[in-house]
């Protein structure tokens, strides 16, 4: 009897808490999409913000382009360096101590709060190196932020490659470069792309690193990496600070959320499709 009520309580606890968890998820996404969905149309996507305070009318085109530019710079810089580092650690690094040092540095960066990276980037890139508030400065900070994210996933994927395949390749006298290029990368490519895409979604949603390094309240769609840009996440933050949320604010959140969901969804589908083969 006593035992039975104990189990009932256990059941009740787990059912109620998962109901709460999923209710919160559906509420957040549903609320934003329902309230903002009506605002999103061609004009909203292709016009610039207008009105006073800014964003009481018009669209969010420059912010969308800015977000894509920041994410693009971050992903290109971070993926090039992170994939190289992962290949080095897995295939070239022969010293245990060196491996540990590199891993420790990567791990400490992963544990770095994004706002501290922003502070670092603001001082170094914006002020000391003279990049100014620009897509480049903001993109570099975001790139540093997602570097460990990509490196850890790619390195894990590379370790999952069958040792036998590598050894056979080496035994046949195939060079390490050719083995990596034709066997390893080909095998791991879908997962590497998927990791980079997930990291891109992460970078696109981040606000703290670009507050002072790249994002501005108003700008045209960026023309080069040296120009400052708007970003959806920062634009949303600015709009919320202006006062009572309007349809325009919900519309901005809807576009931001949908973009990130699309990126993450594509990355996830990519992984599922590959496994399904």
């Amino acid at each position: 009897m006593d035992k039975k009520s104990k189990y009932t309580r256990l059941l009740l606890w787990s059912v109620l808490s998962s109901a709460l968890t999923f209710a919160v998820i559906f509420f957040i996404i549903g609320y934003i999409l329902l309230k903002g969905g009506g605002t999103v149309n061609a004009e909203f996507l292709l016009d610039s913000p207008k009105g006073f305070p800014l964003g009481s009318s018009g669209g969010i085109y420059p912010a969308i382009m800015g977000s894509l530019a920041f994410t693009g710079v971050a992903c290109s810089v971070a993926s090039l360096l992170a994939i190289s580092t992962a290949i080095y650690l897995k295939f070239y690094c022969s010293s245990r101590r060196l491996y540990n040092i590199v891993s420790l540095v990567i791990e400490s960066t992963a544990g770095m709060p994004s706002i501290v990276l922003g502070l670092f980037g603001y001082t170094l890139f914006v002020l000391k190196m003279g990049f100014g508030v620009s897509v480049l400065s903001g993109g570099l900070v975001l790139g540093i932020m997602i570097f460990p994210f990509i490196e850890v996933r790619v390195e894990k994927r590379l370790s999952e490659i069958e040792q036998e395949m590598l050894l056979s390749s080496y035994a046949l006298g195939v060079s390490r470069y050719y083995t990596i290029k034709r066997l390893v990368l080909r095998e791991a490519l879908p997962d590497i792309i998927s990791s980079v895409a997930l990291a891109g979604g992460f970078a696109m949603g981040a606000t703290a690193p670009i507050i002072l390094t790249g994002a501005v309240i108003y700008a045209k769609a960026p023309e080069s990496v040296m120009s400052p840009a708007m970003a959806l996440s920062y634009h949303l933050y600015v709009l919320v600070g202006e006062g009572a949320p309007t349809e325009y604010v919900y519309g901005t959140s809807t576009v931001l959320v949908l973009l990130i969901l699309a990126i993450n969804g594509a990355a996830m589908l990519f992984g599922i499709m590959k496994r399904g083969e």
């Binding site: 256990l10 606890w13 787990s14 109620l16 808490s17 998962s18 968890t21 999923f22 919160v24 998820i25 559906f26 957040i28 996404i29 609320y31 934003i32 090039l80 360096l81 992170a82 190289s84 580092t85 080095y88 070239y92 540095v105 990567i106 400490s108 960066t109 544990g111 770095m112 709060p113 994004s114 706002i115 501290v116 990276l117 922003g118 502070l119 670092f120 603001y122 001082t123 002020l127 540093i144 060079s175 470069y177 990596i180 997930l198 949603g205 606000t207 703290a208 507050i211 002072l212 996440s233 949303l236 933050y237 919320v240 949320p245 931001l256 959320v257 990130i260 969901l261 993450n264 996830m268």
Partner: protein
């Protein structure tokens, strides 16, 4: 053979560049903090509740922000932990394989939402609710920050716990079933005790994430450098840096003080990560 050497060289060069940049960040933050510590002394940084970085006689004590950071993130973990573990029990032990496959992606989806969206929702829903129902002049408070942060770290707790619990379920299911042990007995006396360490590790990991969170927390806690109270305004270290770094001229004491604040936050997170590492090492034994 030539391309072989060139490839190796390029890979080594990029790795060197990466490690140099990342190592330099840590060094840079440390170096830029020194003048602030020299001004107040390390103990002086935690001496009182006064944060006046500008003026004739600047006082740099970051104690209220340190306490607020710890307070808000502990509050968030305290709220999220029972709900997260309960959800993980449901996903790994109660929901069938197909329900789990449908529900799990929603947890990942929630983890991917940008923090500024959580802050926005927190502001209109949580803060708005406090203002309407608690007759508070402003609903922005440590509690609001704790609730919003709890929602943000919930998916991390669910993910870590669910992975472990599903693993335990899988490895003991057959023996447990053949012995005629009921599912509930198994959950209560096998899965939960065996997952204890991983739950703890998940909680500490979530705590570390919470301490570093900027936007969502900053948008709902009111940002006043006061000692944290449940229904009072406070300011976390990330919020302090985000709000003040634009106004601090390079090289000023204020500027160095913000770097010192960042360094303290990194050390706090590092201490928490060490705890995770120790818990995990214990779990493997």
């Amino acid at each position: 053979m030539k391309s072989d050497k060139a490839f190796e060289l390029i890979i080594k060069m990029f790795t060197l560049v990466s490690v140099t940049i990342l190592g330099f960040i840590i060094f840079f933050i440390g170096a830029e903090s020194i003048p602030a510590f020299r001004h107040s002394g390390v103990a002086g940084f935690f001496a009182n509740e006064r944060w006046h970085p500008i003026g004739a006689e600047p006082v740099l004590s970051i104690l209220p922000m340190v306490l607020a950071t710890v307070y808000v993130s502990f509050l968030a973990v305290a709220i999220a932990l029972p709900i997260g573990v309960g959800t993980a029990v449901f996903l790994s032990c109660i929901a069938g394989e197909s329900a789990r496959r449908v529900l799990k992606p929603f947890i990942d989806l929630m983890a991917g939402l940008p923090s500024v969206v959580f802050g926005f929702m927190g502001l209109i829903v949580v803060v708005g609710y406090f203002e309407r129902h608690f007759s508070m002049s402003s609903g922005e408070s440590a509690l609001a920050g704790g609730i919003v942060l709890a929602i943000m770290i919930l998916p991390y707790i669910v993910s870590t716990c669910d992975t472990t619990m599903a693993g335990i379920m899988k490895s003991y299911k057959i023996s447990s079933d053949s012995l005629g042990v009921s599912k509930w007995h198994m959950v209560r006396y096998l899965v939960l005790p065996a997952a204890k360490r991983s739950v703890l590790a998940g909680a500490v990991l979530a705590l570390a994430r919470g301490m570093g969170e900027t936007m969502a927390v900053m948008m709902v806690i009111g940002n006043s450098p006061l000692l944290p109270r449940l229904l009072g305004k406070c300011e976390t270290i990330p919020a302090l840096i985000a709000l003040e770094m634009g106004g601090a001229p390079v090289g000023s004491l204020h500027y160095h003080a913000l770097f010192a604040a960042g360094l303290i936050l990194i050390i706090m997170r590092f201490a928490v990560s060490m705890a995770v590492w120790r818990i995990k090492r214990g779990a493997d034994l």
